[in-house]
Symmetry: C2
Subunit: 200 residues, 2 copies
């Protein structure tokens, strides 16, 4: 328990306790004075990694999806390659590692396409999304606790899965829609626009 | 502590403990056997509400954003109207309530435009997004612990904020991009397409 009257914008933090920790997440519970001036409690889920996600586009306009059973909601989920990077490692380096581990792909070119905060009333988790192209296929090396499937399909088909709700993961939906919008605006890198059939 | 050997897809749950609770979130910690067959721990952040979000479009093609200081990452955030609905209440009813509370708006027409899972490796939180139109302006009635600002602006300007990262909230980014994509495809309801200048 620390007694640290401090401000976060209109919030006053009167005390903070660490009430839960595991290797991946923790909960800090704060006694606060809320913006309305009333005493309250705020428990923040602190995530010990930065989420990185990748849209890997090959010369035929295909992308890769990763399928796995997601434990928290108990369902099988197709997603873009994603993972957690160390907070002290540049997200691009974590993205390179995750792409290689999950799909075996290495990419000659990378472009950061979005930053996003997943649930900013509850957690401090952030995500950084990348476009990757000029791909070379190699051997995957998934984490031993992961059991994943890999699927290569046209970008347009992956986008339709996101729009139809067959891809339920917010990060994947977000990245796929952003590529579509940038593509229609002529704002994608030339080789990616060519591969995906968007105007240059 | 409950001893409940049970399956979640390729995961085996050997025991579950409730290790944290506040009125809004809790943590269930599970002793698992992971898909690779190894013993492990999985702490799930369980969210006691369903996130609802609204894109409220008026006849002039404007939308409303809500600004507030988000405590977990300590920054001021412009977002679409959003809130948490009770798990036992239909999301559309929670969306009507949140829209009215935060902006004073009531809408004659509603369309569900997306389902999303915000952070499906860590939490069980889900979001349901709606398009709302045929708007009537009334008095807002924000929660006493909220201190929010309201801004009405053209939809196109809000979309640009999302694409540029000035809107950092994943749910808002997701809803704004989905409306843009549906709009360009001619898949929005006629009055909304007309107001936003998309093909009918």
């Amino acid at each position: 328990m620390t007694e640290t009257p401090a401000r976060r914008g209109p919030w006053i933090v009167n005390a903070t306790r660490r009430v839960y920790d595991n290797p991946w997440i923790g909960i800090s519970e704060h006694d606060v004075t809320d913006p309305g001036g009333n005493p309250g409690l705020y428990g923040v889920c602190e995530v010990k990694s930065v989420a990185v996600g990748i849209v890997p586009v090959d010369a035929q306009g295909h992308v890769w999806l990763v399928g796995q059973h997601r434990f928290p909601r108990d369902y099988y989920s197709w997603e873009l390659p994603e993972g957690g990077g160390r907070l002290d490692v540049p997200p691009i380096d974590s993205a390179r590692r995750e792409l290689k581990e999950e799909t075996g792909l290495t990419a000659g070119n990378w472009l950061e396409i979005l930053h996003t905060d997943f649930s900013n009333a509850i957690s401090d988790e952030i995500g950084v999304g990348f476009l990757a192209w000029d791909l070379t296929v190699g051997d995957a090396d998934p984490d031993p606790d992961e059991k994943i499937d890999i699927r290569r399909l046209p970008f347009a088909a992956a986008l339709e899965m996101a729009l139809a709700g067959e891809i339920r993961d917010a990060f994947s939906q977000n990245m796929l829609m952003k590529v579509e919008i940038l593509g229609r605006r002529g704002s994608l890198p030339g080789p990616v626009a060519d591969a995906l059939g968007y105007p240059a």
